[in-house]
């Protein structure tokens, strides 16, 4: 409720600076809020604090070295970021990826989606104002997933595990058992979150009907991923343009109805359940075989004068790689189409007319990773 001021009482709008070093901005994001009392009248976002020139660095590195930089553009879902890159290289080099490598890639990408969404759930809980409980629960579940990634690839966040053509090395012998083991704890963690937040009246009061964006606006702003699906648009690249073996997998695309902050939360929670089911189906189809193509050149060189745009469904939306080759073992131009940057465009539209405190949870609900926005 807005208290109307007396007519002779002089008021003026206030500019508030949020960030870049502020924990609620999920990195180094800065926004300037123009507020009238507690209502946001205007929002000016500032990005670029985490720009490291990953695209340019990739132009000076060959296709094996570039994988490491892709990890760092999207550090919460590195497997998904690597996937787009290696798929773009494979498309130009016309490499046939062995079946086993594809299944393992799918399992790892979905596991990474789980760990990334856990991170969202925890951080979102903090934004809404329940510091501690959901955050620590999310990190406990994410820890199990990250431990699994460490056992497979050797690193907890910057895996550098996918290679153009397949995988860097074979997964450990107890891979299947370990994945199933982790899925048990993941299921329990998702149930905990469901009990903790989904029907919690305080949480609903904070999130329902806050930061609404219509489907038309969402499409026009180029949003993608769960943030778009929360507005009721059923667009999932895994479904609409299946890559790898997603066409052989049976899964649903959960969509929201309202397009508010709560829908963006619930869509992600439902998506995690689908990911668990996808991983189980992948494990059933996983068979023995090579993980790299037989005729793999020692130094990969791409044909001259070709370009490709590959897009995959990363946890935050469409993660696309535009690769131009002019021959040689390095890309001539590499462009990362970041889902977070496009989703962030909607922040102003969502926030104007809302309370200042809600601007923070709206930002949290978009689930940005600043390293992906700035690259």
């Amino acid at each position: 409720m807005v208290i109307e001021s007396a007519p002779d009482f002089e008021t003026q709008d206030l500019l508030i600076n949020v960030g870049p070093q502020h924990p609620s901005t999920h990195g180094v994001f800065r926004m300037i809020l123009e507020v009238d009392g507690e209502i946001v009248k205007d929002l000016i976002p500032h990005i670029g604090y985490l720009h490291r020139g990953a695209e340019k660095l990739c132009e000076n590195n060959d296709f094996r070295q570039g994988v490491g930089y892709m990890d760092r553009t999207e550090y919460l879902a590195s497997h998904n970021a690597e996937l787009s890159y290696v798929m773009a290289v494979e498309a130009l080099a016309e490499l046939e990826v062995p079946e086993r490598a594809q299944w393992i890639r799918m399992i790892l990408c979905e596991l990474n989606r789980l760990s990334s969404h856990f991170m969202f759930l925890g951080a979102f809980g903090v934004d809404v104002g329940v510091f501690g409980t959901p955050f620590i629960y999310a990190w406990r579940e994410r820890e199990a997933l990250i431990d699994l990634f460490e056992e497979i690839s050797g690193d907890r966040m910057m895996y550098a595990y996918f290679r153009a053509g397949g995988l860097a090395w074979e997964v450990p012998g107890n891979f299947e058992e370990r994945v199933r083991e982790v899925l048990v704890s993941t299921r329990q963690g998702m149930k905990d979150f469901d009990n903790l937040l989904t029907r919690n009246e305080i949480f609903l009061a904070r999130t329902k009907n806050v930061g609404i964006i219509s489907a038309e606006d969402a499409i026009e702003l180029g949003m993608s991923g769960p943030t778009l699906r929360a507005s009721g648009v059923s667009l999932d690249i895994r479904k609409s343009e299946p890559y790898m073996y997603y066409d052989q997998i049976d899964f649903e695309v959960p969509i929201g109805t309202n397009g508010d902050v709560f829908d963006r939360y619930i869509v992600r929670l439902k998506e995690m359940e689908q990911s668990v089911s996808i991983i189980e189906q992948c494990l059933e189809r996983l068979n023995d075989g090579p993980i790299m193509p037989e005729r793999m050149p020692r130094m990969l060189r791409l044909p001259e004068g070709q370009e490709v745009y590959i897009r995959t469904e990363a946890p935050r939306g469409e993660y696309g790689i535009y690769l131009v080759s002019k021959g040689g073992n390095k890309p001539w131009r590499l462009k990362v189409r970041s889902a977070c940057l496009s989703n962030l465009q909607a922040l102003k539209k969502m926030s104007v007319g809302q309370y200042v405190a809600d601007a923070i949870i709206i930002l949290g609900s978009i689930d940005i990773v600043l390293s992906e926005v700035d690259r």
Binding site: G68, G154, M158
Partner: protein, 156 residues
């Protein structure tokens, strides 16, 4: 109200759960075999010299250019009445741990399996007061392999 009671029940259930954290730094979690910290050079115990011949393969493949290698003629070569088959051997080797991005590429390109990623806790606890202390030289890179502190895991 029912929702709040349900969420409180979830919170309460943690009282009967065991702790999931480790008492770091007094207690160290066991690291998996493939754990990657920073690269180390390996020591050939049979001949008592490094495996590394200083061939610059890792230096060229490194995406962040964190390595510097200098090669020399092996004084222990058979032609010099030694017992080694390596004609060339590493003279100096520096790795700047401050620049290394731990991508494992140097291990993959090495033709002599002379370099491996440190998979012990010593590779993770590398805090120093001066950034220059992170530039490791040959004796420092060899020390752990010489004293059998690492069990190398080299990707095939």
């Amino acid at each position: 109200m029912r929702g709040i009671i349900k969420s409180l029940a979830t919170t309460m259930s943690t009282f009967i759960r065991g702790p999931v954290t480790h008492g770091y730094p007094s207690k160290h979690r066991e690291l998996p075999e493939r754990d990657r910290a920073f690269p180390l050079l390996l020591w050939d115990k049979d001949i008592d010299e490094p495996f590394c011949t200083g061939c610059h393969a890792c230096e060229r493949a490194c995406p962040v250019e964190c390595m510097t290698v200098i090669m020399k003629d092996n004084p222990n070569h058979e032609s010099q009445d030694g017992n080694s088959k390596r004609r060339k051997i590493v003279d100096e080797f520096w790795i700047d741990y401050g620049r290394c991005m731990r991508c494992n590429i140097c291990v993959e390109v090495c033709n002599f399996e002379a370099i491996a990623m440190n998979n012990t806790w010593s590779g993770h606890e590398t805090s120093v007061y001066d950034r220059a202390d992170l530039v490791m030289d040959l004796p420092q890179l060899m020390a752990q392999s010489k004293s059998d502190e690492i069990q190398e895991w080299v990707a095939d």
